[in-house]
Symmetry: C2
Subunit: 281 residues, 2 copies
Amino acid sequence: MSSLPTSPLAAAANGAPESGAPQSGAGTQPSTPASANTPAAAPSPTFSPLYQQIKALIMQSLQTGEWKPGEMIPSEMDLAARYKVSQGTVRKAIDELAADNLVARRQGKGTFVTTHHEDVVKFRFLRLVPDEGEPHYGASRVLECKRLRAPAEIARLLDIRTGDSVVQIRRVLTFSNEATVLDEIWLLGANFKGLTAEKLNEWKGPMYALFEAEFGTRMIRATEKIRAVAADNTAAELLSVAPGSPLLSVERVSFTYGDRPVEVRRGLYVTTRHYYQNDLS
Amino acid sequence: MSSLPTSPLAAAANGAPESGAPQSGAGTQPSTPASANTPAAAPSPTFSPLYQQIKALIMQSLQTGEWKPGEMIPSEMDLAARYKVSQGTVRKAIDELAADNLVARRQGKGTFVTTHHEDVVKFRFLRLVPDEGEPHYGASRVLECKRLRAPAEIARLLDIRTGDSVVQIRRVLTFSNEATVLDEIWLLGANFKGLTAEKLNEWKGPMYALFEAEFGTRMIRATEKIRAVAADNTAAELLSVAPGSPLLSVERVSFTYGDRPVEVRRGLYVTTRHYYQNDLS
DNA sequence: TAGTGGTCTAGACCACACG
DNA sequence: GTGTGGTCTAGACCACTAC
């Protein structure tokens, strides 16, 4: 019994057309009647499960904006029909996307594309918590926002060439009337044409929400390198601390779809009334 | 035929006997023929899925030591038979345990209880990475290891009473011949009877591996509060830095099974040649 | 060859949200 | 009530590991 071609094709998952059904991967075999197996084919050069292929296809639709942040994606049944697989397979794909925080499931309602506007998600990228009281978003004061050529170090981190266009932002975040964070940010020039200090200052809410809404660039994940450093004169003045005071230095690289780096950020945090929260598991 | 009582019983999951089959929760109904539903019972006061109950039962066996760190747990089929549920349900339970890092699946071999001895897991709780070269474990020099009464602050974090017995350890970690970490550790006295400086110094490898092997206390997860602080004279001397130098302060509370806190640790890290690595997702 | 985890399917029913 | 995600089952086959 069974079966349809059984040639696995891992690579195809990425280069597949926009919304075609995935070629059935190894281990698929819908319980259909008679049919021979593939006669001569490598058993599994690079095996990729069906649900991974589905996941890649869904991710592609997220990236191209077929389903936008905040919107609902089609139901599991609809997706199963679209991709010609069982609901269970779609479910497993969505499970992983939900684990990656790309979508969020809401029982009885549907599955929604996550957005940096949501309260729940806001603090995913801001781990600074006040000693007393609830986490909050402070006021942002942009000191500078200009376009320039990427220095070597930044270019390396952004995976571009030295001298390529980047946008540099410097800003101060104020929590409870105390200057707490001094950020220096570099953004991929190509993705942020038209970003100005004015636009940044007008925006209320998380910066990543602005990037997502106005520039179609969504931050998916980031890595951070954390150190303790001494405040130099500039930082000391802007943060109203004594020169030489200990500050938390947080060097972040943020990535969008396809693990492409789009932002480098160096934050200096005053940690006398706040701390950086982390969970190990 | 079927059916057994169909009253949901969330609470029971915790207080269940050591290895009894779980009472079938709501939504179970094996596809058997005729059989009435529960006549009169609240539809779902506090609903707990079957696989969560199974997960709790497995976790219980881990806690009691029925399956010890490094050992293989029974196969999915065996567990399904033991708990009288389908393999799929056991699978989902184990999936979550694997996500929590309590067990690790190895295709073709089995599912194993994780241990702090494994290389892979060693750096789950030590996030300090050298600027150059691979992560490594340095030499540990124990300065002190004594039993004392818990100060108020420590007692609060350990969820015990002020004055209850705790073990205090102070030690220095040296990486590449440079003193890099100064730890001050408080452990629940009841769990660590017989812990001495000598035992600690003899031990090669992660401290948590010793705790797991010798004291049956396994660290499952931890929370950390990170700040930048200035080195006081004591720390400066032990870490060979100038007084007032910026240090990374990491306050950790570690938990064992049942989310019971068993360790409080305050680490001071020199971050000139190392950084604290974190991933946001 | 046997045993284990991993994938896929098909179908049933439950819990939840909303009109 | 209808639609959506969530749970559970039963059975088949695939991939990996070890004997």
